[in-house]
């Protein structure tokens, strides 16, 4: 029992550290990349945001977990986390973008289906629908939002506007980290069986710090430079929209990937330009790998559960 709990907490630490590091670029990438602040301050801001979101709203994601996996034991969650970590690491090594939220839900679903648990299919379908609608809406809303913002910007005092946008970006970086802490990290915490709560919280916070400091990589490179170059107004509008959708998902209890909504809103920003030169292939390959990742995660969890349990 103690050994199982220790393994569970270790896996929790690993996955939360990986997620914290991997998603830091979505939270603070803009303010670090545009040299508004140093990497150290950007990391600190993100880690504080993670912690705040996790502590204040992390529990809201329980509904989503209970829907796909009504029965949770330490052994099942160890299995789920192990599969998730393996997929995450392989994807990271191959530089294939993956959504942990999508993959983890798929893994939990695969285990539940294999073991015959009563899945709340209504809510599960609602989750999947939200995954599809949220990025689509991000793209669609970005187009008029950017055009309106660009139109308004022509009359502004540019330096004043830049100063205010930079302030907004700082706040948004924190808020984006907050929504990630609440949604993705809260979701991972909610998957844990009850009984390890306080220690699990401490482990989670330690993982956020570790991941933010040591594992924050360069995933935004693919999102930022291959789709379109980010300007101040693009950054603030796309980050606002992305954080809004993730926060909405958190309130409803749906795990939603920051990366999905952020990528979609950046794509929408690109589409809003009249004279645009954009490559579709990175966007298409990202969507393809997300869908494939979800299906593979489900299949892997399903077959491993059948074999082992």
């Amino acid at each position: 029992m103690l050994a199982s709990t220790a393994i569970l907490l270790f896996l929790e630490f690993v996955i939360m550290a990986l997620v914290s590091g991997n998603n830091l670029s979505v939270c603070s990438g803009t303010i670090i990349g545009s040299r508004m602040t140093t990497r150290r301050n950007g990391v600190l801001l993100a880690v504080l945001g993670y912690a705040a979101g996790f502590l204040l709203e992390g529990k809201l994601l329980r509904r989503g977990i209970y829907a796909v996996m009504p029965v949770r034991s330490t052994e099942l969650i160890i299995l789920a986390l192990s599969i998730a970590i393996v997929i995450f690491i392989i994807a990271h090594k191959k530089r294939v973008p993956q959504s942990l939220s999508v993959n983890f839900i798929s893994i939990l679903l695969g285990i539940s289906v294999a073991l015959g648990f009563r899945v709340d299919w209504t809510f599960t379908i609602f989750i999947i629908a939200f995954w599809i609608l949220a990025p689509l809406l991000s793209v669609l809303v970005m187009i008029p939002a950017m055009r309106k913002a660009s139109g308004a910007a022509t009359g502004w005092h540019i330096w004043k506007a830049v100063g205010r946008i930079k302030l907004a970006l700082f706040m948004l970086s924190f808020f984006t980290a907050f929504t990630l802490g609440a949604n993705t990290l809260g979701f991972l915490y909610s998957a844990l069986p009850d009984g390890a709560s306080l220690l699990a919280i401490v482990v989670a916070l330690a993982a956020m710090l570790f991941g933010g400091v040591f594992l924050s990589g360069a995933e935004l490179n693919r999102i930022g430079s291959e789709i379109i170059s980010m300007r101040y107004l693009n950054s603030v509008v796309s980050q606002s929209l992305s954080a809004f959708f993730v926060e909405l998902a958190t309130i409803v209890g749906i795990p939603l990937s920051n990366t999905q909504t952020f990528t979609a809103s950046i794509y929408g920003a690109g589409l809003s330009y009249k004279g645009r030169l954009m490559s579709r292939s990175p966007a298409i390959s990202i969507v393809f790998t997300w869908v494939l990742g979800a299906l593979l995660s489900f299949a892997l969890a399903f077959f491993i559960s059948l074999l082992l349990l």
């Binding site: 330096w159 830049v162 100063g163 980010m230 300007r231």
Partner: protein, 210 residues
């Protein structure tokens, strides 16, 4: 909010402010060229100003590439610095050309001096517009300044053409002919560089936000 704005004064705004330092040097050099045309002044003074401009441009280039500027603006800012430094270089080249040869024909020499003087006056006006343009941060105003500079450059083109016409029409030897062409080109380069700088500034300011 004022304190925060000061804290967050971007590298870009700082660079733009300091680019006006190069424009001021160009104005100073252009005034020295006008003295040269009237028979006074010295090429050495203008050379000194040109070296100062190179130093400022070098320092600004290091600031831009060293950080504190949004990466998507780096190339444009470097180009702006280079174009503004080119204004001073063109003024210096004009001074050297003016000093290189004295046309024997007094009438042609006088017409050349008058036309180059007019082109220097246009350059003066263009540099003043450029200076004010770079102090502005409203797109509508910046576009107006840019349009003014374009008009001044077009007037400069007309004067240059008239000098070429004079060179072809007048009874001159090869040296005088070549001298007129070189001087006209260099004087025109000053205005061209002003226009290029204004274009670049407008491009940067248009793209900072959107």
């Amino acid at each position: 909010m004022g304190v925060f704005e000061n804290l967050l004064e971007g590298g870009e705004q700082n660079i733009m402010r300091r680019c006006n330092g190069i424009v001021s040097l160009a104005e100073k050099a252009n005034k020295a060229v006008k003295s040269l045309i009237k028979g006074g002044g010295s090429v050495k003074i203008i050379k000194g100003i040109e070296e100062d401009s190179d130093d400022v441009a070098f320092e600004l280039t290091n600031i831009v590439t060293g950080g504190g500027v949004a990466p998507n603006l780096i190339d444009d800012l470097l180009e702006l610095i280079d174009k503004e430094d080119s204004i001073v270089d063109s003024v210096y080249n004009l001074a050297r050309e003016l000093n290189r040869y004295k046309i024997k024909n007094a009438k042609i020499r006088s017409v050349l001096a008058n036309r180059i003087g007019e082109m220097s006056d246009l350059a003066d006006a263009a540099l003043r517009e450029l200076y004010n343009m770079q102090k502005s941060d409203k797109l509508a105003e910046i576009k107006k300044f840019r349009a003014e500079i374009e008009k001044l450059e077009e007037r400069g083109d007309d004067l240059k053409d008239s000098l070429f016409d004079m060179a072809y029409d007048a009874e001159t030897d090869f040296k005088a002919f070549y001298h007129i062409f070189e001087v006209a080109h260099e004087a025109d380069n000053v205005l061209d560089s002003c226009e290029d700088s204004s274009d670049m500034y407008l491009t940067i300011m248009s793209s900072i936000l959107t």
